[in-house]
Symmetry: D2
Subunit: 258 residues, 4 copies
C-alpha cells in the first residue's frame, strides 16, 4: 500500500496529470478516503487530533508517549497575547470585511523567519551541537556570527513559564526510554554556557520536536498549527466586537483612517 | 479573574491603548502567561490539543465526551486530496520560494464561502430546522431559492465514508446524554426529505458543531484548523520534491511558464 | 484573433487541460507573448501602465482621455497613512521575516468588504440611482436599511481633499464628451440629498469607474492596484528600519511580545 | 517639510504611539493628505500612475524619461499566462467564495524567491559585475556555486520577445544621457559570456531597475505591482465563468473534489 493516487491507466496525458499531483498523503476515490494508507472511517473516533497531525506529517502513527509530547508542545504554542504581530493582524483583518479563514491566513502569513522561525532554527542548532559533540565550540562559533542564539532569551519574560513544564515532560520521556535525550542535553548545555540567558518557548519546543525526530522545518510547521488556534480565537473574539477597520492605535490617541 | 490585560494605571493614552487591545483570550505579563484564565504551566501536559482548541474558543474546558466529539470532527476534516483548491495552491506555493507558513496561509486563504463555508451554512440550516420545528417547510423554503442544501450531496462520493462514523459518535453521545440530539434529528430528517442525496462531510461535522453549541461561524473556523493539517502535510511533501514554480498542469501536457 | 490558448490538437485529455485553463487574457507560446491579442513587443514602450491596466481588464485599449481619468483615480487611491489596517499589517509583516511580496499580499488581503469595498458598493448605488431615475427614492430606500451610504461621509476628513480634483476631472470629461455624466449627476444629487455629508474618496473614484463603464467589482479590483503602491512603499520603508516583530503598540507603552 | 506624522504634543504615550507609526511616506491630518510631501490635490490629474509609484517608493518625482523606462518595465511584467503559479492560484481562489482582493493577495503571496525573486537577484548580479569590473570573474565565481544565473535563460522561450524592446529602450536612454549604462553593459557582457543562454524578462527588467537606481529588493516589489495587473485580470475573468472550487486538473481527466 503506497497511498499514491492511482494513475489513470493507459492514457498518456491523464496519467501524466495524475503523476504531477501524486501524493503519499492521501488517496481519494469514489467512496474511498485513505489518509496515509488508513481508511478515514478507521481513524474517526479512534485517533486523537495530535496523533492525526503526526500521522499526516510522517506517515505513521506515533506511540502514546510520543503523541503526548507533541500535544504538550502544541498546547504551549497557541497564544502569546494580542501584541504578537500574527495575532494583531488577524484581529485587524477580522474587522475589514473578509472571511474568518482570511483573517486566520493573514495571521499565519506573518509567522516568517523572524516571528515563527526560531524553533526551526533552534532545532538546527541542537542538531549541530549533537553532531559536533562540543557545545562550547558550537556556541562560540555561532556567537561570533550573531550574539543571539535561536531558542534562547526573551525580551519580555525573565523566565518563560512554559520552559519548565515542557522540559520536565521531556525529562520524563527520556527516563521512560521514549526519546533518547541527546537534544535535551544539548539544549541544557547551551543554556548553561550562556547563562543567565534562559531557554525560551522556541527552545523548549525545539527540544521536543528534535527529540521526536521532526526535521527542522516542521518545527515551524507545527508552530503554525499551534498558533493558528490562538489566531482563530482572537479573530473570532474581535469579530464579535463590532469594530470596523480597526487600526493599530485607538482613535482616542491617534485618529484611525483608511 | 477576567483574563483581560490590565490597563496601565493612571495614564490616559496608555490605558486607552491597553483597552484597544484588551482581550479575554489571554493575559501576558512578565513571567505570567494565562490562557482563558489558566496559567499556561497548569495546561501543558494536562490538556489535549482538541480540548485546548475548545478552551481557547469558548473560555471553558469541555467535558471528555464533548472533547472526543470535537476531536472526531477535526480528524475527519484534515484532507481530501491534492485536487482541493486549498491543498493544490499550498503545494504550488511551496515550490515558489516562500516560507512554509506562507504556503499554509495561501491554502487557508481559499477556505472561503464556497470552499470552506458549507459547514457554517449547514449549522445555520440545522438551527433553522430546530427553531422552526418543521423540516419539510424549511427544506421547501430553502429549495425554492437554491436547489442545493449546504451539507448535503457530493459530486464525487455517492456515500461519503466519513458520514457514518461521525453520526454514529453523535448518536452515542445523545444516548449518553452528552448532547441533546435536536440537530442530529434535524439533519437526519432533512436527509430523509431529500433522499437519495446524502449528508456529506460538511453536514456531518455541522451536526457535531451544532450539537456541541458552537456558533455557526466557528464551524468554518474549526474546519480551518482541521484542514490546516492536510495543507501543511501536502506543502511539506511538495517542498521535498525539488520542483520549482509548479504549475497546475504538467509540462508534458502543457508547458509550465512564469 | 481570440487570444485563447490553442488547445493541443487531437488529444482528449491534453485538450481538456488546455480548455480548463483557457483564457482570453493572454496567449503564450514559445517565442510568443500576446496580451489581449497584442504581441507584447508592440506594447512595451508604446502604452502607459494605466492604459495597460485597462487593456488587461477589458480587452481593448482606452482612449487618451479615458486613460487619464483612470490614472487620476489610481493616483488618488495609493495611500491614506499607516493607520489604515491594510498599511499597518503590511508594515508589521515586513518585520517578521517574510518576503516583500508576502508583506504586500498581507495588506491586500485586508481590502475586504468593509475596508476596500465601499467603491464597489458605491458603483452599485450610482447604477441604482441612474436606473431608477429618482435619487430621493433610492436614498430613502437605502437609508431605511442602513444610515450609511457607501461612498459618502468620512469619520476623519470633514471634506476629503481628493473629492474636488477628481470630480473636476470628471466634469471636464463630461464637457468634452468623453463620458456621459449620468453617474456624476447621480452622485452629486445623492450628496445634495444627504447634505452636509460629503462624498468621500470611495464615492469620487466610484463616479470615475462608473462613468468609464467598469463593472462594480472592478472598483474594488482597481482600488487594490492603487493601494498596493502605498502598501509596498510602507512595507519597504519599514523593512529598512531594523525592527523585528513589530507589534501594534510601542513597547514603551505596552511591551511587545510574541 | 518632513512628511512625518506630527506627534501629539506634550503627551508621552501618545507621542510614543505617533513615533512608532511615524513615516515619511504620507502625512494625514483632518482635511490634509500629503504623499511624500505633496498635497494629494496637487498630484491628482497631474502625475501618471508610474510616476506616482516612483514618487511613493523614492520620495521624489522621476524625470519623464526615467518614468518612461519604469513604465515599460511594468508593462512588460503584467502577465505570462495562466500556468504561472501566481496566476493559477488567483484563478482558483476566485472560485472559492473569497473577495477579489483575497484572490489577488493569494497570487501575490506566491511571488517568492523562486517565482518573483529573479529580478531582485539579477540586480544583485549586475551590481556585483559593475563593482568588480570583471564580468568573466564574477560569472565564473557565480557558476561555481550555481549553474543558473538569475535573469538569464528560459525553459520556455528560446528568445524572450520582451528582451529586445526593453533593452532597446535602455540603450536609447543611455544615448540620451538619462541613465549611465553601466548595468546594461554588465548584462550584455554576462549574456555574451554565457551564450547562447539569453537574457530573460527578469534580466531585462533588472537592467532597467538597476540603471534607474532602484535597490535590488524593489525589483521584486515592482514586479509585484506589475504582475498584480495580470493576477487581477485573470481572477476577474475566472470569477465570471461560474466555476466553483476549481481544481488544477479538469474533472474530465481527474475528478475535482474538496
Amino acid at each position: 500500500m503506497t497511498g499514491r493516487a492511482a494513475p489513470a491507466a493507459g492514457d498518456g496525458p491523464a496519467s501524466a496529470a495524475a503523476d504531477w499531483w501524486a501524493t503519499a498523503v492521501s488517496r481519494i476515490e469514489p467512496g474511498l478516503i485513505e489518509l496515509r494508507g488508513h481508511p478515514v472511517q478507521d481513524l474517526i473516533g479512534r485517533i486523537g487530533f495530535a496523533e492525526m497531525i503526526w500521522l499526516m506529517l510522517r506517515g505513521e502513527r506515533p506511540g502514546a508517549h510520543q503523541a503526548a509530547l507533541l500535544e504538550a508542545a502544541l498546547v504551549a504554542s497557541v497564544d502569546h497575547g494580542p501584541h504578537a504581530p500574527s495575532i494583531a493582524v488577524a484581529r485587524m483583518a477580522a474587522t475589514c470585511g473578509v472571511g474568518l479563514n482570511n483573517a486566520v491566513a493573514t495571521g499565519v502569513n506573518l509567522l516568517g523567519d523572524v516571528h515563527g522561525g526560531a524553533g526551526e532554527q533552534c532545532v538546527g542548532l541542537l542538531e549541530e551541537v549533537v553532531a559536533d559533540g562540543d557545545a562550547a565550540a558550537v556556541v562560540a562559533r555561532r556567537r561570533a556570527a550573531d550574539k543571539y542564539l535561536p531558542g534562547f532569551g526573551h525580551r519580555f519574560h525573565r523566565r518563560d513559564p512554559r520552559r519548565d513544564p515542557l522540559l520536565g515532560l521531556v525529562a520524563e520521556a527520556v527516563a521512560a526510554g521514549v526519546v533518547a535525550g541527546a537534544h535535551l542535553r544539548a539544549a541544557l548545555e547551551v543554556e548553561r554556557l550562556i547563562a543567565p540567558v534562559p531557554m525560551n518557548i522556541d527552545g523548549a519546543t525545539a527540544v521536543i520536536y528534535a527529540e521526536l525526530g521532526f526535521p527542522a522545518p516542521l518545527a515551524r510547521g507545527l508552530f503554525v498549527l499551534g498558533r493558528s488556534v490562538g489566531i482563530l480565537a482572537h479573530a473570532w473574539e474581535e469579530s464579535g466586537q463590532g469594530r470596523r477597520n480597526k487600526g493599530p492605535i485607538p482613535p482616542s490617541i491617534l485618529p484611525t483612517w483608511l
